[in-house]
């Protein structure tokens, strides 16, 4: 069984907690009702690798269908990878004992986008927050409740909130509850899937600041799935830009915003909304839309929309190169 009390926080900030290596997720496409046969694969995630470090945040940005949500699901063991491995503190979580898997599950928690669907409307707040403890820890009811109160305080809510039902809270408060629940097991990694995009503008800053404070306090690693580059700049230490299931550029956040290098990253930056009417932005309007992951283009997946495409781009797949420490990308221009 897992420990009864919180595991000691021994990790140093910056220590690699989790490593994803060559992760792939292909969804088979089938035809036929009774006797179905596989006619192709949707390559939702196609060979990506990254690391999560204690006390740091990896932002994953990309447009819909780029595979960022599937990646999050694989991290949370909601989807089995088709290939590749997730190493948690050095152990491959898919090829190991049930106990290690269980420990992994309680070490990696999540906060989702929609605060209206992430809390069971029929449970009281105290039961929602205590549920992970009920499942994973053998501690008494009073110990659970004591911890629920502490978690509520941590996320800026009061003890009297514990007896209420979710519908009695506003969106921002619900997101706080979701965060409290995610923290219940003292996780090492929290996957944040667009945690603020469903909230009102004035509430977003509250939640982002809260997440940052909690990270400092508990030295937890975040993986932030986002589509808004400004949010990524504020929240993250690292950024991975995804396109059609692949990471096209991975970089420390400062470096990426000073020196965006992949043409797709540049296009995303130019398409992002300015924070001031006089802000200078390159005008790169990408033509067309993201191709279907069922039938991705040859060579570099981005070449049909790339303003800098060359002949070899349509033939040859670019390999990943490191252009400065920690900053790597896949493009023939480099």
């Amino acid at each position: 069984m897992t420990t009864t009390e919180s595991p000691a926080q021994t990790t140093e900030p910056g220590q690699v907690l989790l490593e994803a290596k060559n992760l792939k997720k292909y969804f088979p496409v089938t035809k036929g009702l009774l006797i179905s046969r596989v006619t192709g694969h949707i390559k939702a995630v196609d060979d990506i690798s990254f690391e999560l470090r204690a006390g740091e945040t990896l932002g994953v940005v990309g447009e819909s269908g780029c595979g960022k949500s599937t990646t999050a699901k694989m991290m949370l063991m909601l989807e089995e990878p088709t290939d590749g491995s997730i190493l948690f503190e050095g152990q491959d979580v898919h090829h190991t004992s049930a106990e290690v898997r269980k420990a992994y599950r309680s070490s990696v928690q999540a906060v989702f986008q929609d605060p209206w669907s992430s809390l069971n409307p029929r449970m009281r707040v105290k039961d929602i927050i205590a549920e992970p403890m009920v499942i994973n820890w053998s501690i008494s009811r009073s110990e659970q409740q004591a911890r629920v109160m502490k978690l509520l305080n941590d996320v800026g809510l009061n003890e009297y909130h514990s007896n209420l039902f979710p519908h009695e809270f506003s969106g921002g408060q619900r997101q706080r509850l979701a965060i409290a629940r995610a923290l219940a097991l003292n996780p090492r990694v929290i996957v944040l899937d667009e945690p603020v995009s469903a909230l009102d503008v004035s509430i977003r800053a509250q939640i982002m600041n809260l997440l940052k404070d909690l990270q400092k306090e508990y030295n937890v690693a975040y993986m932030l799935i986002a589509h808004d580059l400004a949010t990524v700049r504020y929240m993250c230490t690292w950024v991975a830009v995804m396109y059609l299931g692949q990471i096209v550029e991975l970089s420390p956040v400062k470096e990426l915003f000073i020196n965006p290098s992949h043409p797709y990253t540049k296009a995303l930056m130019s398409a992002a909304l300015p924070s001031h009417p006089d802000m200078e932005q390159e005008e790169i309007i990408l033509q067309g839309e993201v191709p279907s992951p069922l039938n991705p283009p040859s060579g570099c997946y981005f070449h049909p929309r790339c303003p800098a495409a060359m002949d070899r781009c349509s033939v040859e797949k670019p390999i990943t190169k490191e252009i400065s420490p920690g900053h790597s990308l896949s493009c023939h221009l480099f």
């Binding site: 999540a110 929609d114 669907s117 069971n120 499942i135 941590d154 509250q206 404070d213």
Partner: protein, 346 residues
């Protein structure tokens, strides 16, 4: 820092708003259906205490007595020595006539009761075997309640389990269970019931079985649809992330979400069950006589309708109609009240 941001106080609704809410609820309550249903349940539960007579035995000489408010019917008939069937409406035998008036002579004309007047002893009259119709209607509620409760418990449980499995596992399990539902639609269950009764004899358990077979698919379908929606809720994914087992997810996170729908489906199904039970009883495949069931009572009175003996069939018929209609109205109201999508439209 973060801690003081919570000064968001959830203001309780004011007293006036609460009162207005209660008023609105009462205004919308289906008072009449609820009252009638309460009456049926009460009658069923306390039948031995409230029924004025034994529902299963009666005096033959008290047969076909009309309801209390009926005045009876008189006719003038000729006294004859002997009469043929054809003369029954116009003649009366001497021996019978002398019971009314000992001095009567052959050939006299005499006024006789064609049908006796009602008496307060039998408020709704008696049937062809002299049994009190009111008592039988009251006891009949018992059978209807018994059959519906057992059927709902068994059929509902089967249906809910099937629905949960089909919705949760999807794929082959779903396909298989939903094809079972389709098969049920293609089977003439009343015919099967009749065959079963002919081969195995009449019993309560046969109807309960047949009715269970009839109602489970409805539950299965509704629950399946609900599960298909609920299983994509983020809180279900989060429960998985926390390591919750499948039974835990199904019973703590999914099943409670279907309860509102289940209550509505159950209410509407009770109406159907009562109607079907009555149909089967009417066809003679129901509860074995002499146990009073509304359906078989309607059947009993059916061939007497022509002779003007209307009350044997009518009162149990009204009971069926009012009960089923009340259940439907009540069920509609429940659906409107419990379905959050409709509630928002208020």
């Amino acid at each position: 820092m973060a801690a003081d941001l919570s000064g968001i106080v959830i203001a309780p609704p004011t007293r006036r708003a609460k009162a207005a809410g209660v008023y609105r609820k009462i205004k919308r309550w289906p008072v009449i259906p609820m009252f009638l249903l309460g009456l049926v349940v009460f009658a069923g539960l306390f039948a031995p205490l409230i029924a004025p007579h034994d529902p299963e035995s009666g005096e033959l000489r008290e047969r076909n007595i009309p309801p209390a408010w009926s005045n009876g019917e008189r006719a003038v008939k000729t006294v004859v020595e002997r009469m043929t069937i054809n003369e029954r409406t116009t003649s009366v035998t001497l021996s019978d006539a002398q019971k009314i008036d000992p001095n009567i002579q052959l050939g006299d004309r005499i006024e006789v009761f064609v049908r006796p007047a009602g008496s307060t002893k039998f408020l709704l009259g008696t049937d062809h075997l002299g049994r009190d119709v009111l008592s039988r209607v009251i006891y009949g509620a018992r059978i209807s309640i018994l059959v519906s409760v057992v059927t709902l418990a068994v059929g509902g449980t089967i249906g809910v389990t099937m629905g949960l499995m089909a919705g949760w596992y999807g794929g082959f399990v779903d396909e298989f269970l939903m094809r079972l539902v389709d098969i049920k639609l293609a089977i003439p269950l009343i015919l099967i019931a009749l065959v079963l009764v002919i081969t195995l004899g009449q019993s309560l358990w046969i109807i309960v079985t047949v009715l269970c077979l009839f109602i489970w698919p409805r539950f299965a379908r509704q629950v399946r649809g609900e599960v298909l929606q609920l299983k994509h809720m983020d809180y279900v994914s989060l429960a998985k992330v926390s390591g919750a087992s499948t039974p835990r997810i199904l019973f703590i996170h999914i099943f409670p979400g279907t309860i509102n729908t289940l209550i509505v489906v159950a209410t509407l199904q009770v109406g159907i069950v009562i109607l079907l039970e009555s149909t089967l009883s009417f066809l003679g495949a129901g509860v074995p006589p002499p146990t009073p069931a509304w359906g078989s009572m309607v059947a009993d009175g059916r061939d007497k309708l022509a002779g003007g003996v209307w009350w044997i069939s009518t009162f149990p018929g009204i009971a069926i109609m009012l009960t089923v209609m009340s259940l439907n109205l009540f069920g509609d109201w429940l659906r409107d009240t419990l379905d959050p999508r409709l509630r928002q439209l208020e």
